[in-house]
């Protein structure tokens, strides 16, 4: 970042000074601090019987996992009512709940008693729950991010921002903070494992990549959004080895890949392997076809089509097939390109493209799934910080209806404003070129639209006929952006020139 010190005018002086003073440790501490600030606020379903929210779901899983034997976790029984927040994540989540449950059982036993603890709420319990998220965040997500950017900055050197800035942009991303530490979920675990596995690809450690990504998949099945790029990247590189070296080198590589994935799965599914009924039940719980094509107001294609044509008329099986086909078509260019040229930067872009396609076209999408797109976008941010942060703002905004429901409006506004200010100061340091001016105007207009819609949805009451007017407009507004970004990122990937001497 030395070259920027030449432009010593007042406008850039203070951001440059801050750039000098704020090192990685400070960024780390500030990121933790903001997570804690958001933790002070309400969580989803606070004091809202009978179903409460995700906070209660996590607590309920602790209760179920420590009280019942492993083989009963996914089955409906008198002790495990699957209609009341039944486990619908893969086994690693269940193990995590189990460990958490053991700790809670020691510290606050009444919060994890079978049956009696439903809807348990207390200030101390909230503190423990918040700590449990913060700890896994610190243990998994933070190290993964630091590790990833260290590897990333080793390889590429035409980055526009420094490593500290990139880490700051990623760790302060409001969407993840608001969902994990406000709304209450453990996305940081699966996303952290995912980031770590990508870091390992950048460090050329194949086995670790496979293990970590399989773990991510086994924490949340939504990580499947990222699976295709991994697949095509490795298939492509195996094929390349075959062309360049020999058949046996390629075969050896393939066997290593398959074995490490299989072994990880075997170990994680150990309690269920013996019985096919168990496996089917778990898979059935994880992929619930009966739950409809989307939940609430999601900013994807189907929700927009639903405005004009009610998708409920189509039965779920057909709908799922349609979803599958459209998703496959939209990921095809990106995946084939990656297969042909398995380079690391294309891999990152392909991660963005595939996850965004999945978000826009696939079946059973939640509004929170946008986090799965935002994280790869943030990982790509050193290459084009302007577009990436713009995208990330829209992702946070697309979750606004959910956040309003959770009473997290103040943290949403504060965190977004802080993020914007942090980013605009970073921008002052790196941007000297003027050609982005028009795009800048467009970005500001788009963000201004977000502000207007936020104010509208707080202040204006929707007409009686359309009670979900504002969430719907917000989702359409975000959806338009996402489609545009999908086209942009696809274009960027396909146009990317691969250097002659490849770094792989």
């Amino acid at each position: 970042m030395h070259l920027y010190y030449y432009t010593m005018t007042y406008k850039y002086l203070i951001p440059l000074y801050l750039n000098k003073v704020l090192n990685e440790k400070l960024v780390f501490m500030i990121a933790v601090l903001f997570r804690w600030f958001v933790s002070l606020h309400d969580y989803s379903g606070k004091s809202k019987p009978p179903m409460f929210g995700d906070y209660e779901a996590q607590r309920h899983w602790m209760e179920v996992t420590i009280s019942l034997p492993t083989t009963h976790w996914y089955f409906n029984s008198s002790n495990n009512d699957l209609l009341y927040w039944g486990l619908d994540y893969p086994p690693l989540t269940a193990y995590h709940s189990y460990i958490n449950g053991l700790i809670f059982n020691n510290v606050l036993p009444e919060s994890v008693q079978l049956h009696t603890s439903r809807g348990f709420e207390s200030k101390f319990h909230q503190l423990l729950m918040r700590y449990s998220v913060l700890i896994v965040d610190l243990l998994i997500f933070f190290p993964a991010v630091f590790w990833f950017f260290r590897q990333f900055f080793k390889i590429k050197n035409n980055n526009q921002i420094s490593q500290t800035m990139a880490i700051g942009i990623m760790l302060l991303y409001p969407g993840l903070i608001l969902i994990d530490h406000g709304h209450f979920q453990y996305n940081c675990v699966s996303l952290g494992l995912f980031v770590a596995s990508v870091a390992n690809i950048f460090a050329n450690k194949t086995i670790l990549t496979c293990i970590l990504f399989s773990m991510a998949l086994n924490y949340k099945q939504m990580e499947l959004y990222h699976a295709l790029p991994f697949f095509f990247y490795y298939i492509g590189s195996v094929y390349e080895t075959y062309i360049k070296y020999s058949f046996f080198a390629a075969l050896r590589k393939l066997i290593i890949l398959v074995l490490s994935v299989l072994l990880t799965f075997l170990i994680l599914w150990a309690p269920y392997i013996s019985d096919s009924k168990q496996i089917f039940q778990v898979v059935h719980r994880i992929f619930p076809l009966e739950r409809g094509v989307f939940e609430d107001k999601v900013s994807n294609i189907w929700c927009q089509i639903n405005i004009i044509y009610k998708l409920r008329n189509i039965n779920n099986q057909t709908m799922a097939t349609i979803c599958l086909l459209t998703t496959l078509i939209s990921v095809l260019p990106s995946c084939l390109d990656l297969f042909k040229n398995p380079s690391k930067i294309k891999f990152l872009l392909s991660l963005i493209n595939c996850s965004l396609s999945f978000f826009l076209f696939s079946f059973q999408v939640h509004e929170k799934s946008i986090l799965l797109v935002a994280i790869p976008v943030l990982m790509y941010s050193p290459q084009s910080p302007f577009i990436c942060t713009w995208f990330v703002f829209i992702t946070t905004f697309s979750m606004l209806p959910l956040l309003i429901k959770d009473n997290l409006l103040i943290p949403f506004i504060s965190m977004s404003l802080i993020y914007f200010i942090v980013y605009s100061n970073i921008e002052k340091v790196f941007s000297k070129q003027k050609e982005t001016f028009k795009l800048n105007l467009l970005r500001n207009l788009s963000l201004f639209g977000c502000v207007i819609l936020t104010i509208c949805s707080i202040v204006l009451k929707p007409p009686q006929k359309y009670p979900y007017l504002w969430p719907l407009i917000i989702s359409s507004y975000s959806c338009v952006h996402f489609i545009a970004f999908l086209i942009y990122f696809n274009f960027e990937q396909l146009m990317l020139q691969i250097p002659k001497k490849k770094l792989y």
């Binding site: 000074y17 704020l22 601090l33 600030f37 002070l40 103040i410 965190m415």
Partner: protein, 496 residues
């Protein structure tokens, strides 16, 4: 840049909305209710709550105006019978009133940072570089002022209106720095009528204005200026206290403002000279008597409500003694100010010393009063390495010493991380370079102390047996540091 800084700090404050608040929240709510529901002549005589108004009348008027707005938010908070009322709207309104009035503080700090930067003479290097450094120094001073962690903890979590009041102080200082003495005097008088704790700083103002403004040229001009100043001060006071004088309530008002019934030290000893004195007293007792008896006595001394407390071995202290000691120890620095050439930097240093001295020896001092020294000291960060090192130690200590006020588990991470971030920011910006090894070690020792008193005590299960010890340890440890700072800075000022 600074504008976006304001937005950012405001956002942080908004994020802190659901934090714990102390009884001061109820105190201010009760004042809202009192000023709204009762006529003027009952403001200082109302007995419906134990939290009677103990700030001067301008603050009561301030609460009165707030109450007019509060009526639109939640009328129930303005009823004098709703004690401990804290609906969501009430919390939101009160917190928001602090956040919004803090903009006075931002204004004051910008004014002050600009005027102090123009006072600090540039070493004769090339002009462009000097300009750069000046801009950065303005920014850093402003940042250190408005992102003052102690103020954040006290105002946003514990709940008080210090930011707004310090804003008025900074406005007044900035006028003095620019040489606009009448305005400076006016704003300081206004400040005194908001909160009389700023009397601690009054001697420095008095001496500075008398010697370096009135008695500067000739007797006639001196008399004219003195009369002008007197008119300004008296008119502010008469507007504020006049109605109560007319009602014949002035003695009652003063009784509320200066409650000498409270003990020498607060329930938690502020880290001043008397904390050392109390510790010595406890130590002496332990050497004389058996341990069990002491514990019982000490509990009453460090925990529980405000009360009078008798020393058992060392002689007991009366308000008069503290008053005399304070004046006595202020005299040398005031004399120095009198003798110095007219230099506003010297005035700010004297302000710091007045604040520190009153903090060291005052009667029933709160730990927050250390801010009276720290805020003016922040302005001097770039003047000399001595000021800078003093600021580093004192501001850190000041933050640490308010920690016992925020004892709820949710605030543990908030306060410790805020302190850590503050210290590492100071470290990264090179403010630790001027410290010697002992001072560094002392500051580092705060870390283990915090672990011991906050976590260790819980793990060791000592809180049942020695509940008072963590607080005593904290205030003893901090008072050593503050005492050291006081002596060092005093000597630096006198021999400068």
């Amino acid at each position: 840049m600074t504008n976006s800084l304001y937005v950012m700090i405001t956002c942080v404050k908004l994020l802190l909305l659901p934090s714990y608040f102390s009884t001061d929240f109820e105190v201010h709510r009760n004042w809202l209710a009192t000023t709204y529901s009762l006529p003027l002549n009952q403001w200082y005589t109302a007995k419906h709550s134990q939290w009677t108004i103990d700030y001067p009348p301008l603050f009561a008027w301030f609460e009165y105006f707030l109450a007019q707005i509060a009526a639109f938010v939640d009328i129930d908070m303005l009823s004098i019978h709703n004690s401990n009322y804290s609906s969501n709207a009430t919390v939101f309104f009160q917190r928001l009133s602090v956040i919004i009035t803090d903009f006075v503080f931002y204004y004051g700090s910008r004014k002050c940072a600009q005027s102090i930067a123009s006072l600090v003479k540039s070493p004769k290097i090339n002009k462009k570089k000097y300009m750069d450094e000046k801009e950065i120094s303005i920014f850093v001073i402003e940042l250190l002022l408005i992102a003052n962690i102690t103020l954040l903890l006290i105002d946003q979590i514990h709940f008080q209106y210090n930011g707004f009041l310090f804003g008025i102080l900074l406005i007044s200082i900035s006028h003095i720095l620019k040489g606009e003495n009448y305005r400076g005097a006016f704003w300081f008088t206004v400040l005194l009528n908001f909160k009389h704790i700023y009397l601690y700083l009054a001697p420095a103002y008095f001496i500075f204005l008398l010697r370096h403004f009135c008695l500067k040229h000739g007797l006639r001009l001196a008399l004219k200026r003195f009369i002008n100043l007197g008119i300004i001060v008296l008119s502010v006071f008469s507007i504020s206290f006049g109605p109560f004088v007319l009602n014949g309530q002035i003695t009652q008002v003063f009784k509320q403002l200066f409650p000498f019934k409270r003990g020498l030290s607060h329930a938690y000893w502020a880290p001043n000279f008397w904390a050392l004195y109390n510790t010595a007293d406890v130590g002496a007792k332990i050497t004389y008597k058996d341990l069990n008896k002491i514990n019982n006595n000490s509990v009453s001394m460090t925990r529980g409500l405000v009360q009078e407390f008798e020393h058992s071995v060392l002689p007991s202290i009366t308000p008069h003694i503290t008053f005399i000691l304070t004046i006595l120890f202020m005299l040398p620095c005031l004399y120095k100010l009198w003798k110095s050439t007219r230099n506003p930097i010297s005035f700010v240093r004297c302000l710091v010393l007045c604040g520190l001295t009153s903090f060291m020896f005052g009667w029933h001092v709160h730990e927050k009063a250390l801010l009276l020294a720290v805020i003016p000291l922040t302005l001097l960060v770039f003047t000399s390495s001595n000021d800078c090192s003093m600021f580093t130690i004192l501001s850190t200590l000041c933050t640490y010493s308010v920690f016992p006020l925020l004892f709820k588990p949710f605030e543990f991470i908030t306060k410790s991380l805020l302190l850590l971030i503050n210290v590492s920011f100071l470290y990264n910006s090179g403010k630790f370079k001027s410290l010697n090894h002992i001072e560094k070690l002392y500051l580092i020792s705060l870390g283990p102390l915090m672990l011991l008193t906050e976590v260790g005590w819980m793990v060791l299960k000592f809180e049942q047996r020695y509940p008072f010890l963590p607080l005593m340890l904290t205030s003893f440890h901090n008072s050593l540091g503050v005492f050291y700072c006081w002596v060092k800075y005093y000597l630096f000022y006198i021999y400068n």
